[in-house]
Amino acid sequence: MTNRLDRIMERLSRTAARGMSRRSFFGRASAFGITAASMPLLPVSRANAAQQPGESGDPQSCDYWRYCAIDGFLCSCCGGSTSSCPPGTEPSPITWVGTCRNPVDNKDYVISYNDCCGKSACGRCMCNRNEGDTPVHQPAGSNDINWCLGTEVGVVYNCSTAVVLGAAD
């Protein structure tokens, strides 16, 4: 498990320069290994995202491959999608990550489970899967933390996304 997290951290340190909302939340965090969770919202255009290859399954179902380490309400059932927050909610800039196997190409991908915040719990499509989930004292992989802590709007949790950051290897 930790080997995989190490790989995730390494990968993210390589892509850190692309960071967007990242720096303001870094602070002391970088000193203790939360770098991996403070990943950027990668500035890939929407059009490109829509042409993602290698997808199968129903993003409104807890069985969907990207949800292997999620814990919360699926934004896909709440007015958002796997990579978008419902209208009027604010994405958390930092969050936990997991590594999930895509059944189409049988490869592992790093998934970022950014919370959407500022409205109360959506309540639909509750989904809890814990592949590689870590304790809260290893926050980068912990789905028991309310990651809305990093938003402007505040701490109130609405739902969770599952954004592909890239291949895990």
Partner: protein, 381 residues
């Protein structure tokens, strides 16, 4: 309706993609919606009766069956102040500084349909009616300039909010009468405890002047419920025994235009009931009423059927069996109307063809105490 676009794109990608290609990093975005509420969009209240600090309303697309978004209300969340153009709305909310206690602040927060983001806030007197959600406790006036909110402390008054300026106009006493039934851009009436109606007018700034109270219009032993229906021209009120009182509000003092009955001799044992008892489709004149079998004191029991009336002819033209119960009913106002029902204790919102009564879909997994249904104010014409 970007949500749907995104879903479509994803599905297309699934089909078209070579299975071996690697997924690229994605951007995390925020959904937006059409600027105008579409005819088959609908808001449904979830007052969350056992968790009333966390009430909310869900915005649903009844055509796709998708949830489009939500708003969080304050304590005991009620109905929304929907602008007639479908572009904006206000949310009256009660907040206490420490959740269940502390300083009370009442506000109306304004939102755009396009982004569902909390915008301008108008502070209102901390007196708003708290209780079961009724649209008549906080309606928007026809034309959309003002909203009038009912206060009960137990002193009764109304607060007027300027929907265009997004500001509070003021508080005006209404002694002895309650709830708010708009009859024009600057006219409304209230119902008094003794069975009379109290007319009132708004001036250009929204200041309220009370008119002359009507005589007693409703019987003591069969009083009208709070759940009147506006046809666009008249108010219809229902009584526990099944009478329909139609109000004539054209003159200075309201009076009864006519009274008819939902129930014929053949229907003995059936009554109207529920929380949102009835809904009226303006283009066709069809009146939808939640009916159940029961005796006295069942006036709030949920409906097991919807009876459809030709309101002009005062005649029933259809019965729709609900395969269950409903505490709320509402119909969309467009040319292909949908019929919506909800039931506390159930988490499905049901969508029917309003002409045939046929169940089209259930939108599942919503809150456990859905009450008031607010269809789009936009008819698409």
């Amino acid at each position: 309706m970007k949500t749907l676009t995104a879903f479509t794109a994803l599905c297309l990608a699934t089909v078209a993609a070579p299975a071996t290609a690697q997924l690229q990093p994605e951007e995390l975005t925020q959904e937006t919606l059409a600027e105008v509420m579409q005819p088959h969009w609908v808001w449904v209240n979830d007052v969350s009766f056992d968790r009333m600090l966390d009430g909310r309303a869900y915005l649903l697309d009844a055509d796709s069956g998708q949830m489009l978004g939500m708003i969080s209300g304050g304590y005991g969340h009620g109905s929304l102040l929907l602008a007639e153009d479908g572009k904006t709305f206000g949310v009256p909310s009660i907040h206490l500084s420490r959740g269940v206690r502390g300083e009370r602040t009442d506000v109306v927060t304004f939102y755009k349909t396009a982004d569902l983001k909390a915008g301008t806030e108008a502070i209102i007197p901390p007196k708003r009616f708290s209780g079961m959600p009724f649209i008549s406790s906080a309606p928007v006036m026809p034309g959309g300039r003002f909203a009038v909110l009912y206060n009960f402390t137990p002193e009764q008054s109304v607060t007027v909010v300027d929907m265009q300026a997004q500001k509070t106009v003021g508080e005006f006493v209404t002694s002895g009468c309650g709830l708010v039934f708009p009859t024009g851009p600057s006219k409304f009436f209230l119902i008094c405890g003794d069975g009379a109606l109290q007319p009132a007018t708004l001036d250009a700034e929204g200041k309220v002047t009370l008119g002359k109270t009507s005589k007693k219009l409703f019987a003591d032993d069969d009083p009208v419920t709070e759940k009147g229906v506006w046809t666009g021209k008249q108010w219809l009120f229902f009584t526990p025994s099944g009478k329909v009182h139609v109000i004539d509000h054209a003159k200075d003092v309201p009076s009864l235009a006519k009274t008819w009955s939902l129930i014929t001799a053949a229907d003995a044992g059936w009554r109207p009931g529920a929380l949102q008892t009835a809904s009226y489709h303006r283009a066709t004149g069809r009146l939808y009423v939640l009916m159940h079998e029961g005796g006295p004191n069942t006036h709030k029991d949920p409906g097991t059927e919807i009876w459809v009336y030709d309101a002009a002819k005062q005649a029933r033209i259809q019965r729709i069996s609900l395969d269950g119960m409903a505490l709320s009913v509402a119909v969309s106002q467009d040319a292909k109307p949908l019929l919506y029902t909800a039931m506390p204790g159930e988490t499905d919102f049901k969508v029917r063809d309003a002409m045939t009564g046929e169940l089209i879909r259930k939108i599942e997994g919503l809150g456990g105490f859905m009450t008031v249904i607010q269809p789009s104010p936009v008819t698409g014409q």
